[in-house]
């Protein structure tokens, strides 16, 4: 057993884990955060996607012991003070969710994309979630949901910029 310290959704956790457990297992089995899913468990489907130090990460392929000191964000940490994240709200309103099994991973991939590239093209959005498989939606509504957030954020930014100029 190895001691590790993780910062998950802003909360520090000190844990003892086996050296072969993945981050996904720690999130689900030790911390009770089951939003990240076990789909393929080998890095092909994207249902386990979380954000680590700003980058999307397939948590089924990452050993927990490599996560020492890193800031990890999961779907459970996205809503703040009872307010849904704009991506969550947009997925909901655009009908981008069906069975919902891929949804947490896809939203986390989208968040990582928009955090880096707030104004992506549709192609960039499609590429950004191309590692997230989904059998239900055909991706059309998820893509529209993500584009809507990107557009409204860039609009807000340009409005703010406009205000600053006055």
């Amino acid at each position: 057993m190895i001691d590790i310290n993780l910062l998950v959704n802003g909360i520090h956790h000190s844990l003892k884990v086996k050296d072969n457990v993945t981050l996904l297992q720690v999130l689900r089995d030790h911390l009770g955060l089951t939003g990240a899913k076990i789909g393929c468990d080998c890095g092909d489907c994207g249902t386990c996607t979380v954000i680590v130090d700003g980058e999307p990460l397939l948590s089924c392929l990452a050993l927990a012991v490599e996560m020492e000191g890193k800031a990890i964000q999961t779907i459970e940490g996205l809503a703040q003070d009872g307010q849904l994240h704009p991506l969550q709200q947009s997925f909901h309103e655009h009908g981008a969710v069906q069975c919902g099994f891929c949804t947490p991973g896809m939203i986390m991939s989208a968040k990582a994309l928009l955090d880096k590239n707030p104004n992506p093209t549709e192609f960039e959005v499609r590429r950004g979630i191309s590692g997230n498989s989904c059998r239900c939606t055909g991706y059309d509504k998820p893509v529209k949901a993500i584009m809507a957030v990107a557009e409204s954020e860039s609009r807000t930014k340009s409005e703010n910029l406009g205000k600053e100029r006055h």
Binding site: T34, I38, G39, G95, R135, V143
Partner: protein
């Protein structure tokens, strides 16, 4: 009830917030105090007799609590029908495909369970195996099930009208062979369950099931306990598409190991279990002969199907029935003959998958119709309009068409793309030469809305109106992602005139919710919907009695709208719905407002011997137009856009309906262009999502358009019909026909891989193929 206030508008899913926040719990997310972890041992051989199983080393491993084999089930077998019960929870004497389950263990953690599995020694006597359905039916082929002649798992024969006489009158007859391949359901959530057995015989089962009343019945039979002692509780389900109906080895093993150990037992399959050994769509070899008049009028069709059933029968008889019965839709087909055999092979089991059998034969029929149009110099649109069925039509196999918007779907879908102009434009572009060949393809479908089977085939709903003005719905139907809960919630809100957030739809709990056959065959809106209307109607009637007294108006004059109840002519004297509910409970007799309803559409079931009779409450129709781009250098086919015209009876919720069409396009596109379970000597060669190619977000067309036609069905709830599966039926042929338009080559073997395209293009350029099928 006048204008709708909720139905018809885009309402986000009622289970959406739970899913986007990660709070929705799927079977693998659940845990129960004291639970053990299960694992199964699978056969490495496609066909072998089990000589002996030595479990002693596994049993001796520290942390192992129980080991079971097929013998523990005392000869219990399960199957879709009484005479097709050929499958055991764990193989007791013989394995029939690579991945067939032979033993299971329960241990204190998953690693120990895995280690224990590896310590089980099975002594196999390897038997000759057969993998091709046609070879399997030949004399002398290895017998996969003892006492079954020629490995025939099921047969279906239909003969309507006079095919022979009709062919004699035909101006043109075509015969073609098609092959529809083996594809996976593609859900991302592998099978998972937890089971708890309490002596003297009570089972509690949480499982990822799209039809939870299947395990309810199967577990009661397997463990010889009364149905009332089986409590099946439904978690969220991560997609089903037909692949989560049956009761599997893990489900039975979890209960058996719980019985043995006294602990709850959890099983979670991994993706390789699903992709190597899980169920699949039926591959079919389809010989189709069709006769027409010069003007394109369809006279007769004769269809022979050889379905590759894999190792067990499962729902196979239903699949081959549907594949034949729907030859009579969506076109007037006065004569048809259908002969199907489903052969056992030493491969994973073929079952229902979105469209259940209909997509396979419709692929053949729509592609052949395109070839016929070409042969006769007829227009693709006109030949379909000419033969399209209309409302009131009764098919030769006695499907009664109560509503039909097929012609509207054809017209509107083709108008949307400006069919004639676009075809011409693309043809001109192709003549110029260049790397990309683009083409337009068309296909139609007819499908069942609310499948009806033997046995208990009705849906039921219980409605409970709370004193605070909210309503609980207890359906027997299941949401596996398709939106069932939202459909039921919006219908309920509409009937009571309340907001969708005032409605709570319960998941199945067989102790509480009414029994139901299952959520397959596009049943929920069609069959649970009318049941809900009856249940809610009873509650509304009782509330109306109270309201009528309070408002001093006749109860028939009452409107329920915007969380208020008022007389039509005196809206100013409205009472809040919440107050009405409160008064109903608190004044007078102290009644509670609970209503129940069931709906089974009281018409005769099909005759399963002849295939005659209605299989569904009602029928849907649709048209799809695909535009593709074929890369002559790489052979890759790209679906550029897909237009869906669908007759859904009545639009309830555009968000959900469009999502269903999108999903059908996705599944159909995967089948048309990418996906195939590749096997060699029964071993699946591509059991991972890396090697089994499902389309990504980059592969999908950026234009997917849904055009929905409201034909107001007289049987469907508020006029509605299915909009979940029909679109899957015509997606494949629309794409294949578009590739035909682009290349002049009809690809009759799915999927249309780049290799096949390059080979066919090369052959065509050498002058070998001209507007002929390229079965490669």
């Amino acid at each position: 009830m006048g204008e709708f206030s909720i139905l018809g508008k885009s309402t986000p899913r009622v289970d959406g917030i739970a899913k986007i926040t990660g709070k929705a719990e799927y079977a693998a997310d659940l845990s129960v105090t004291g639970m053990l972890y299960g694992q199964v041992l699978r056969s490495p051989y496609p066909h072998a007799r089990i000589v002996s199983i030595d479990t002693s080393r596994a049993e001796g491993l520290l942390g192992v609590r129980g080991v079971i084999t097929g013998k523990d089930f005392n000869g219990f077998r399960h199957g879709f029908m009484v005479h097709t019960r050929d499958e055991s929870p764990l193989a007791p004497d013989k394995v029939r495909f690579v991945g067939d389950e032979v033993a299971a263990v329960a241990a204190i953690d998953p690693d120990i369970a895995q280690e224990a599995i590896e310590l089980i020694r099975v002594d196999y006597e390897i038997l000759p195996a057969v993998f091709d359905p046609e070879e399997a039916m030949r004399e002398g082929a290895p017998a996969i099930h003892d006492h079954v002649q020629r490995n025939i798992s099921a047969e279906m024969h239909m003969n309507f009208g006079d095919v022979k006489a009709a062919f004699a009158q035909a101006d043109h007859i075509r015969e073609d062979r098609f092959f529809s391949q083996s594809v996976l359901h593609g859900f991302l959530e592998p099978h998972a369950c937890i089971a708890s057995y309490e002596e003297p015989g009570k089972i509690t089962f949480w499982g990822s099931k799209q039809s939870p009343y299947f395990p309810y019945r199967n577990l009661a039979s397997a463990f010889k306990v009364p149905l009332s002692k089986v409590r099946v509780i439904q978690p969220y389900v991560g997609g089903g598409f037909g692949g989560k109906n049956d009761t599997f080895a893990l489900d039975y093993s979890a209960v058996m190991l719980s019985k043995k150990t006294g602990h709850p037992v959890k099983f979670v399959y991994d993706i390789e279990d699903v992709m190597m050994a899980g169920r699949r769509r039926h591959p079919m070899i389809i010989h189709l002969k069709t006769g027409v008049k010069k003007d394109g009028t369809l006279l007769a069709t004769e269809c022979r199907v050889t379905a590759d059933g894999g190792a067990y029968t499962a729902v196979g008889p239903m699949t081959i029935y549907l594949a034949g019965a729907f030859l009579s839709l969506p076109y007037k087909m006065p004569n048809f003959k259908y002969d199907a055999v489903r052969a056992y092979t030493n491969k994973p089991v073929s079952v229902a998958q979105r469209g259940n059998g209909v997509p396979q034969t419709r692929f053949a029929a729509e592609c052949q119709l395109e070839l016929i149009a070409k042969d006769l110099g007829l227009d693709s649109v006109q030949i379909r309009l000419k033969n399209a069925v209309e409302p009131g039509h009764v098919t030769v196999n006695k499907f009664h068409i109560s509503s039909c918007g097929l012609k509207d779907t054809i017209n509107q879908a083709t108008d949307f793309v400006k069919w004639r102009e676009r075809k011409q434009e693309l043809a001109t572009e192709r003549e110029k030469g260049g790397r990309y060949l683009r083409g337009l393809g068309l296909a139609c479908n007819g499908f069942q809305s609310g499948a009806r089977l033997h046995g208990h085939t009705a849906c039921a709903v219980v409605i409970k109106v709370h004193e605070d003005g909210t309503v609980s719905v207890l359906p027997g139907a299941t949401d596996s992602g398709q939106g069932a809960e939202t459909v039921l919630a919006t219908m309920t809100a509409e009937i009571f005139g309340i907001a969708v957030e005032d409605v709570h739809v319960s998941k199945v709990d067989s102790f509480l919710t009414p029994v139901d056959p299952g959520s397959y065959g596009s049943r929920v809106t069609s069959t649970a919907g009318p049941a809900l209307m009856i249940a809610a109607g009873k509650c509304r009637e009782r509330l109306a009695e109270v309201a009528a007294q309070m408002l001093n108006v006749g109860s028939e004059e009452l409107e329920f709208r915007n969380r208020q109840v008022y007389g039509k002519n005196s809206p100013e004297k409205a009472i809040p719905f919440r107050k009405l509910c409160h008064m109903a409970y608190q004044s007078g007799s102290g009644q509670v407002i609970i209503g129940e309803g069931y709906f089974g559409q009281n018409i005769a079931l099909p005759n399963w011997e002849t295939g005659e009779g209605d299989v569904a409450n009602t029928y849907t129709f649709g048209t799809q137009v695909a535009e593709v781009e074929v890369d002559r250098e790489t052979g890759q086919v790209k679906l550029k856009r897909m237009v869906v015209g669908h007759d859904l009876g009545k639009m309830f919720n555009p968000l959900i309906v469009e999502g269903q069409h999108d999903g059908s396009i996705y599944g159909g596109m995967g089948q048309a262009l990418y996906e195939e379970c590749l096997t060699e000597d029964g071993l699946t060669l591509n059991p991972s999502l890396l090697d089994y190619k499902m389309p990504t977000a980059l592969d999908m067309p950026t234009v997917m358009k849904s055009i929905n036609i409201e034909s107001n069905d007289p049987i469907g709830p508020f006029g509605a019909k299915e909009s979940a599966e029909g679109t899957q039926v015509s997606t494949v042929p629309a794409i294949v026909n578009a590739v035909y338009d682009a290349t002049g080559i009809m690809f009759t073997d799915l999927p249309i891989t780049p290799e096949k395209v390059l080979r066919a293009l090369e052959k065509k350029e050498q002058g070998g193929v001209k507007n002929a099928p390229a079965g490669i």
